[in-house]
Amino acid sequence: MTESETPKKARFITPPNKLKKKVGTGNIDPALLDKAQAFIRDNPVAFEPYAMEEIKKIETILKEIKTTIKTETFDGKKVIERITSPVMILKANGGMFRYMMVSEIANILLQFLENLNDFNDDTFKIVDANTKTLKALILNKISGSGGQEGYELSKELYGVCERYYNKYNIEV
């Protein structure tokens, strides 16, 4: 190895903490945290149109691949990548706008997609079932967590993924 090929030794730098100098020491008034949390809870933004936009993206991809999934040129990894983005957006934003259950179910689907290496007929059925569930929640404006019944529904969806992992020997 020549000198020019020798890896550069890592240098550690401790930048000055300018931020602390500006804001001082302490915490936050708990009343402000409560006020901020109440602001999230009472935010009047209608999330449904944003959610439907993302759900439509997933539906379009599913419709597209319905006929190509069995062809040789079908690229499962690419499909997973395309579906993952709208699912992540639903997971991220649902709970910010009172749709905790949308976040929960989108999270189940997101975790499922991130554990996959291929997209087959069974994958299609699972993504389709989750998407239909998400759509029904939005169309019926089922905000909140869904209580006990919502929990049971999430459990069923987790169960479907578990069965898939077992069938295809996927370690998660």
Binding site: L19, K22, V23, N27, F39, N93, G95, L110, G147
Partner: protein, 186 residues
């Protein structure tokens, strides 16, 4: 004693307008007075150069420049006025590989969406109280990646904040039951 955020400045980069407004309002409630906003990484970087904020809070998925690319620019671009600025990445991703990808591009903290007001404050407090040491190596410049990872989002915890209990509403209850029955057949 409480923090005085009025003298600090923060840049929010987020493409979903209601989320941008929500985050801005939360920071306003915390006491921030100097809040700058942009709707994509490209505009965010321009604003970063112009305003030199003390903290950057950015979303991940945006076009034409996403949040991770923005951080890479903040850390490595010659025009960057402060490559050491703390950057908090807000995202729905929580998978190990995604977190590592973000860290490899120079993220300081990871804020998993959906988040509570407390989660947001905790991340801000973390960059104040526990600033990361920076590493300059052959292929990396950014905060030391060896600190423990942010905890993954745990859905059920969010139930504590629930505002609508579906089992008290017959119609919603029935819909959820039907959905569960159809999932069983999958």
């Amino acid at each position: 004693m409480t923090y005085d955020f009025s003298k600090a400045s923060i840049l929010i980069v987020e493409d979903m307008n209601p989320m941008l407004t929500l985050t801005r309002s939360l920071l306003g409630i915390f006491g921030f007075k100097n809040i700058y906003t942009a709707q994509n990484g490209e505009r965010g970087f321009d604003l970063f150069i112009e305003k030199k904020p003390d903290i950057v809070l950015t979303d991940w998925l945006m076009e034409p420049v996403n949040g991770v690319e923005l951080v890479h620019k903040i850390r490595n671009d010659k025009r960057s006025p402060d490559p050491y600025v703390p950057v908090i990445l807000m995202t729905g991703y929580s998978h190990k590989l995604r977190v590592e990808e973000a860290r490899d591009n120079g993220i300081t903290e990871f804020l998993v969406k959906p988040f509570t007001a407390k989660d947001l404050f905790t991340r801000i407090s973390q960059v104040i109280e526990k600033p990361r040491q920076f590493v300059e190596a052959q292929n990396f410049f950014g905060p030391d990646r060896r600190r423990k990872r942010a905890k993954d989002y745990q859905g059920p915890e969010k139930r504590e904040e629930d505002t609508v209990d579906a089992h008290r509403d017959e119609r919603k209850f029935e819909i959820l039951q039907k959905l569960r029955e159809s999932v069983k057949k999958t």
